[in-house]
Subunit: 266 residues, 3 copies
């Protein structure tokens, strides 16, 4: 069975870290197919990494292996885990990073990786588990080694979960939380498409800090004509606040992930 | 027939967008070979993306598939097209992005992609055609699906063309247009090698805004010794203004794509 | 024999340069397996590129081909070489870039590439040997062409070597040299693990310019609790000065590669 390996880390594109993981994977499984998700997760930002994994997972080919490494606790007593979901395996630290994606695909079983077997090196670096634990684990799974040989089953409910807050509907507006700002400055919020559909007619403006800007309800960027900002359901099926060839995050004065916005009703 | 897929976008390296395209391609054609051209085209900059495609196309293996996505009009009525050229297929929006490269390789036929067939998802995102239209189109072509099954033939002359201006030879100099600044600060102009050969002997200096700097005519960066700036025919066979381990764009005071320069005659 | 090709350059991720190399490789050897090490080496920084190759080489699968291009002297009389080491081939300019990695793996033979054969294009760009010389050389080697057909044997000792300075042990401290700052702001020094083990007990603080900061001796980032900075042996088995979810280079006031630090004894 073909099992492509998808990698997400906060290692960036300047160092040898990502290539070391790929080199280890290809040493163990020369035919492995490796695809980068991104390595530009903000350093140590588990929540941003978790959201990007959540975004990509519904699009992956069946039987993928996802390796996620955003791991400020590397080498401490946090566990190294493999999550088996309905369609895939996810590998990484037990710090919440893998949780939103795994939950979206359907959690089935969780294993704690056993590095005491002959499959792992004797000396494991205490600062680079991506290279010494997760890359070999992915390589073995991609080669057909059974997950039971790589770790021991642990309680599904014992792993660390992570979630973004729910939006709150008030009488005068919708309180939204900013999950992510993309390269174009689009503001991706925690408001799912279904909730937006219910309140869309009432929304008049977006308020961030002291700034209030009237928004246009659109379906594509190019429809924004009369106003600076539009709102639409983006490709991840979440409400996004967007500009037309301009950064919405900048128009609102520097919105960042984790910030709160109010979508004011008319 | 082996058909590698080359991708160029303005999606950057931080988001899930590029990986979503690759995941869709691998879902449809598990053996697909995918190569990144770049994803760092400046956001919405069709002209920069078009130039980079123009640069790469003569080097591609025969029978390549090029997917280009710089697409501020996504979801509006601009068409989704496949251009068949002498050696390759190009896929993307009909906004001029694909034109310079297609023209360089030799335009043969153009198809408008038909998303009404069973080959595409029922629900196509109005903001992410890279994932929902271009990636599947590339995957099907790479698998051997005939182009006629993916779209309907349209008039070759109906597509949007794009070109950089021609340089102008005046009595006292050559007016050049800046197409691109590369990572090293080399200034790539619209002056082709053949025109440069005719006037090279006469060129004395480069003038940008109020600044005039004498240039050395060289063939390699390391030959620049006496002056700060050199001119040479670069790897794309266009005139470049370059420094020796320094950014020519900075030496001249911040040259940007789209700017004009004068190469003054002695 | 499977020979994956690993690429390191200072070409960045915005231009067509890296893709041109990959396109040439795939034109010559359609089945080639290509892996990026990094293309974000600081422009023209041979010493940074050399260190990253030194870091990655012990992790590469046996029989890899490494192409390194950080090449300010492109087109001058510096030679184009292939170094055969115990396990791999390294290809690039003879300017010291390949030396530390080749030396680490064990130098065996060196060849000067002969571009006069039918294997190379008639017209070789004088500014882009990555595309016109190194990419085809890598592709031919990966296809099984013998190294003797690609170049002529030259004296092993004639190639340019490069090394970082040795640390100096003084009575009151250890003078260390900064080789690299990674994405997390970790400061990677020239102090090998073995030397650190001998003096670790004595180290009290790190001094950079006028700033002196007490350090904690740790084995993982997460152990740093009482102080701002820790020291540990990193994944490359060199002494690193690190923070806990903070950039050590910034805490010390902007440490850069090439700087000197003093690890003061108590």
């Amino acid at each position: 069975m073909r099992r492509p390996i998808f990698l997400l880390t906060d290692f960036g594109y300047r160092d040898y870290y990502v290539a070391a993981m790929k080199a280890i994977i290809l040493s163990i499984n020369p035919g492995a197919e490796i695809v980068d998700i991104t390595h530009n997760v903000a350093p140590w930002n588990i929540s941003e990494g978790g959201f990007i994994l959540w975004q990509i997972i519904p699009h992956l080919p069946k039987n993928s292996i996802i390796v996620g490494v955003v791991d400020p606790g590397v080498g401490t007593d946090r566990r190294n885990i493999i999550i088996e979901t309905r369609n895939h395996f996810l590998i990484g630290p037990d710090n919440g990073l893998l949780y939103p994606a795994a939950h979206r695909d359907g959690l089935e079983r969780v294993f704690e990786i056993n590095i005491e077997t002959h499959l792992y090196k004797h000396e494991i670096s205490s600062t680079f588990h991506g290279r010494d634990i997760y890359a070999p684990t992915a390589a073995y799974l991609s080669k057909g080694v059974r997950v039971e040989e790589l770790g021991r089953l642990i309680n599904l409910n014992s792993i660390i979960s992570q979630a973004w807050p729910n939006p709150e509907v008030k009488t005068d507006g919708l309180i939204a939380y900013v999950i992510h700002i993309d390269r174009f400055g689009n503001i991706i919020t925690n408001v799912p498409g279904a909730l937006y559909d219910k309140v869309a007619d009432k929304i008049k403006s977006v308020k961030y800090s002291d700034k209030e800007i009237i928004v246009e309800k659109v379906t594509v960027f190019g429809e924004i004509k009369r106003r600076e900002l539009g709102i639409l359901i983006g490709s991840s099926e979440m409400l996004e606040i967007v500009g037309n060839m301009k950064s919405a995050a900048e128009i609102l004065g520097g919105v960042k992930p984790g910030d709160r916005l109010i979508l004011l009703f008319r």
